[in-house]
């Protein structure tokens, strides 16, 4: 009995390498795809994606647990892996099917890589401005940095420590190792209103005079939700105080820990780019006699390794650098006539994986059909080692 035969006896492997399990997963994926697509009309793209495709489970009709897309795809991945491990008959006549199997595995793997590793955000710059950060569309973070009295709002370089705020739970503690204090979540709301009036707790530090937060229902459009929370800061020397952060504040709250002054703000998450980007010029052309833009493009300079190179970004001409792609997204022109350009920033380490998976699967199908055609007169033989 060889190794594969031994594995086939294993109940766990036998259980997961079932064809029926694969069929169940494919049926569920079909239902989820249809359901999720239809639900986008009422629930919005973001919430539908989270609920039907990114979740492990969700409650259908409000009470019935239903497997989410991620759970189904994980089961399918394990199923295909087990089949490849113990049941696929690795012979030349099955080469097409073997390639198809690995193509499908690669599809699921690329889906996971893109789910976990893809970063989407935007970068807005006025003409002449330089920045090295992209801003997330929906994710929030608490950013803390040491206040620099020499720094001006015109030019600064800050070493920022941040924690993602989207999964904060009440009473959760976050240790800021480098800053030397502990942040405890006393109260966190993913959507809330801020009030300055009576009824708030006294002695809470806040940059805008907000004294209390009123939780609000989550909006379908995530950009309409403004998070806020009250956090307790505990220092190594026993100091303890509360700060209130609200997502719509533009000024950070300042506080002292020991002899150092820190500033903290709750804002959309920032991601550092491996380069600095300067907007040199924004150009907009309009259809004659109208205000409707015909085209708009940005002349930018990219700084890498202390060298600047210029690049024109337009609608179908993005800037690509390593795993980053910057697309022309939108623009604003303020009352002063200052032009700002907004670039969509996408970081996708696995951006070629879906293309490779498609090619591999397609190649497997072509080979399989060709071999079927060439050996049509022969009695077909099962590509699997055993039948259920």
């Amino acid at each position: 009995m060889n190794f594969r035969q031994k594995l086939r006896q294993n109940k766990f492997i036998k259980f997961f390498s079932s064809v029926k399990l694969a069929v169940s997963c494919l049926v569920l994926l079909f239902i989820l795809t249809f359901w999720g697509t239809v639900a986008q009309v009422h629930e919005g793209l973001y919430i539908a994606q989270e609920r039907y495709f990114h979740s492990f489970f969700f409650l259908a009709l409000g009470f019935l647990p239903f497997p989410g897309g991620q759970a189904v795809m994980w089961v399918l991945f394990v199923n295909l892996s087990c089949v490849a491990l113990v049941r696929l008959n690795y012979k030349w006549r099955n080469i097409g099917l073997i390639i198809i199997h690995f193509g499908l595995l690669l599809f699921l793997l690329s889906g996971y890589v893109m789910l976990r590793c893809a970063q989407e955000g935007y970068l807005s710059l006025s003409e002449g401005q330089i920045s090295n950060l992209s801003t997330a569309y929906h994710n929030w973070e608490i950013s803390i940095w040491e206040a620099d009295p020499q720094s001006s709002g015109q030019k600064y370089t800050r070493a920022v420590t941040a924690v993602d705020a989207d999964h904060f739970k009440n009473e959760q503690t976050i240790q800021f190792q480098q800053l030397g204090f502990l942040l405890k979540v006393k109260e966190y709301h993913r959507n809330c209103d801020a009030y300055a009036g009576e009824g708030g707790k006294q002695g809470i530090l806040n940059a805008s005079g907000i004294q209390r937060l009123q939780p609000a229902d989550l909006d379908r459009a995530p950009e309409k939700n403004t998070p806020g929370g009250i956090f307790n800061i505990q220092t190594a020397d026993g100091q303890s105080f509360d700060i209130l952060l609200f997502g719509r504040e533009s000024s950070p709250v300042s506080f002292k820990v020991g002899d150092k002054e820190y500033q903290a703000i709750l804002r959309l998450a920032r991601h550092q780019l491996p380069f600095e980007l300067k907007l040199i010029d924004f150009m907009k052309e309009e259809h004659p006699g109208t205000d409707t833009p015909r085209s708009f493009k940005s002349q930018v300079a990219v700084e890498t390794n202390q060298a600047w190179r210029e690049k024109l970004i337009s609608m179908n001409n993005p800037l690509r650098y390593k795993d980053y792609t910057l697309y022309q997204s939108s623009y604003t022109i303020d009352q002063m006539g200052n032009e700002s350009s907004t670039l969509a920033v996408v970081k996708n380490v696995g951006r070629f994986m879906p293309y490779v998976s498609t090619f591999v699967t397609f190649a497997g199908l072509v080979i399989h059909f060709l071999m079927m055609a060439l050996t049509a007169k022969k009695k077909p033989e099962s590509p699997y080692v055993d039948n259920e």
């Binding site: 394990v78 002449g128 800050r158 420590t161 550092q272 002063m336």
Partner: protein, 270 residues
């Protein structure tokens, strides 16, 4: 058939539950991230602050701007071309008066430090008010909490509500700038203080002190169609709420009581 179905379902449920348990067990605690934030503001603005107007067109329109003597906004041509150079609203109130770095004739508005201060001064406290029946309320944008427009085509006015923290530049600076905006000659400081002291004071329904600044009083001989303004300033501790109505002299006079009623109805949402 049913037993087969149950068997398949059981397999799926068991396998999914197993993977979920593994997935949930792998949930990591929230970890801190570190990054360096670099920001440099526009060089163009620095150029303007240093009064380098070499890229400005060499024509009559820009002649005064390029003059080395152009040290205040009076040097700016008071025409349509330049009316949009600087936003004429409460957000920019008193910026020149505060003598901030970079708050010169053109560059001041673009200074990011100033912009930061302006943004910081915007008060986000939710307010409520009662819209006069003859006006249509539109959703606010930017720092405007709300915008209203009159429905009477013969007396069109635009009304805005903005709430700013701090002194927002101060009363004298605001009134001076508003006068310039509607092309009223700014009197000497003592006369200006006298004018302000004569303006109607009242209290809102929530007992906040307020004052109505009626510029039509300074336009006695002007025709009914000259641009004019009436503004109400409601003081709420460290915050000032500006309710500003612009339109022709005749239109703002017709809507004066509505503006006052709107200002009186402003309350903090509790």
């Amino acid at each position: 058939m049913l037993s087969k179905f149950n068997f398949i379902s059981l397999r799926f449920v068991c396998s999914t539950a197993l993977l979920c348990a593994v997935g949930l067990g792998c949930e990591r605690p929230i970890a801190e991230r570190h990054y360096t934030e670099i920001f440099v503001d526009a060089e163009k603005k620095a150029m303007r602050r240093s009064n380098d107007f070499s890229r400005m067109p060499q024509d009559d329109i820009h002649a005064k701007i390029m003059s080395p003597d152009a040290s205040d906004s009076q040097a700016m041509p008071q025409d349509d071309i330049h009316s949009k150079l600087m936003p004429q609203d409460e957000i920019h109130a008193g910026l020149k008066a505060q003598n901030m770095p970079g708050a010169d004739m053109m560059g001041g508005m673009q200074d990011p430090a100033l912009q930061q201060q302006i943004n910081a001064s915007a008060d986000q406290t939710p307010l409520t008010w009662e819209t006069p029946q003859e006006w249509i309320e539109k959703k606010g944008s930017g720092l405007r909490l709300a915008t209203f427009s009159g429905t009477d085509p013969k007396a069109m006015v635009e009304v805005t509500i903005i709430s700013l923290g701090g002194s927002a530049g101060g009363m004298i600076a605001n009134v001076t700038r508003w006068m310039q905006q509607i092309q009223i000659d700014v009197p000497a400081k003592s006369d200006l203080e006298n004018f302000i002291s004569r303006q109607e004071k009242f209290s809102t329904t929530s007992d906040l002190p307020a004052q109505l600044i009626d510029f039509t009083q300074l336009q006695g001989n002007a025709g009914p169609d000259v641009p004019s303004m009436i503004a109400a300033i409601v003081e709420r501790g460290d915050t000032q709420i500006f309710v500003k109505m612009t339109g022709s002299k005749q239109a703002v006079l017709q809507n004066r009581d509505r503006l006052k009623a709107l200002a009186k109805s402003i309350k903090v949402k509790e």
